[in-house]
Symmetry: D2
Subunit: 139 residues, 4 copies
Amino acid sequence: MTNDEMKAYLQSIVAKTPFAAFLGAEVISISPGHVELAIPVIPEKMNQHHGFVHGAVIGFVADSACAWAAGSVAGDVVTAEYKLNLLAPAIGDRIIGIGSVIKASSRTVVTKAEIYSERAGERRLVAFAVATVAKTDAK
Amino acid sequence: MTNDEMKAYLQSIVAKTPFAAFLGAEVISISPGHVELAIPVIPEKMNQHHGFVHGAVIGFVADSACAWAAGSVAGDVVTAEYKLNLLAPAIGDRIIGIGSVIKASSRTVVTKAEIYSERAGERRLVAFAVATVAKTDAK
Amino acid sequence: MTNDEMKAYLQSIVAKTPFAAFLGAEVISISPGHVELAIPVIPEKMNQHHGFVHGAVIGFVADSACAWAAGSVAGDVVTAEYKLNLLAPAIGDRIIGIGSVIKASSRTVVTKAEIYSERAGERRLVAFAVATVAKTDAK
Amino acid sequence: MTNDEMKAYLQSIVAKTPFAAFLGAEVISISPGHVELAIPVIPEKMNQHHGFVHGAVIGFVADSACAWAAGSVAGDVVTAEYKLNLLAPAIGDRIIGIGSVIKASSRTVVTKAEIYSERAGERRLVAFAVATVAKTDAK
């Protein structure tokens, strides 16, 4: 698959995933070992009671960035575990997730993700994640 | 606050939290150091492409169970970090989160959560989480 | 294997593991899905500069409790990842690790461990760990 | 403090920390937000029964790299929690830990570490860690 085919395929999966579609997830770019995605911030849909984007939305972006980065080198995958550090309140226009592969083994792929809030084009690091992602055929 | 007052207060926070309200989060019980919550499974809203409840929904239940258990002993809190192990695909009528306090310190509360899928009243462990939750006034 | 045979076998592995032997690791009990181990606190060997038992010693007990609990149901294993929350400074006569299985799957076992410091027979929770342990033949 | 003073100070702490001294920990370089350390591999001291460097030794390097990177910007610190992914068996002459700051907040510093085994000057990534480190005066 070329990167463009990989992007189109992943975006078609997102379209069939109600939760991802509800959040408006968009694949910005994908290449082997690397993915960037974004969701638009719609406060009345996704904020929590302190006025920031809900941690579960950050969790979605983190998990997706980690799983999709793994998928870019390993095909169909499922997240086995992840750790998420929430570093700063997320406020802005978009939430960006950048996932990359740390190490691909025969049955699992360990990945990390940086999550940013973006406001007027400026990005601020709001979370950091590490995940162990399992190949589906190897589970 | 009595446990009933705590439950009513928490449910009022949920009602004001769009993301939690969207998922239909319900507080089943809360007492100091312990909380149980549920969300109904609505497949066309929250499944992923393998047909299971999306990991981000499990993440929401895990994070909420951990944060609310911490809140039950520490007041207003914010999750600093959590680790989530996804143990089995979640299928069923409801997702249940049971959070409890491992250790409360002056500035943080460490909590854990078991997450179950429930089908016809029978529960199956689908995830396990550990979180560090910070007191808001101490952040 | 009976529990006694499992204990003798594990203690023989410890004897051949320089690092575990150096720390004086002792298997207190083991049964399928459950293990308890102890190390004696020797301050001039294992304390850090604040006067508490070094985090890496706690890490050893946590990792061992998690891996050995997994091994009690899965045979030869290797830790894939763990998360350790250090809850309180460890002071006392012994460090105790109690490991148990959360979920055993075909290729991995997810386990947890509570780590206590013991002083004059009284135990205090000092750390909590969760680990993903891989079966060696399945890696 | 200059970087050289910071390095000398940290090496003096190591000398007073029996566990770190036992493992032969050496500070290679330190600057604000960044640290590199090494320990020589002495198989008869630190291997486990598969013939690789024991996970607890990797844990020591990971924890030290994370805590020292935090200390380089925050002074006296204590590790609150860390997650360690063991990526490959560690074999070689030295274990290298490279720690860096992800985000420093008022009371905690989130850091990460890459851990390498080194053989004849060639490095191989064997582990990855993320830690939350608390400032001591803020605990």
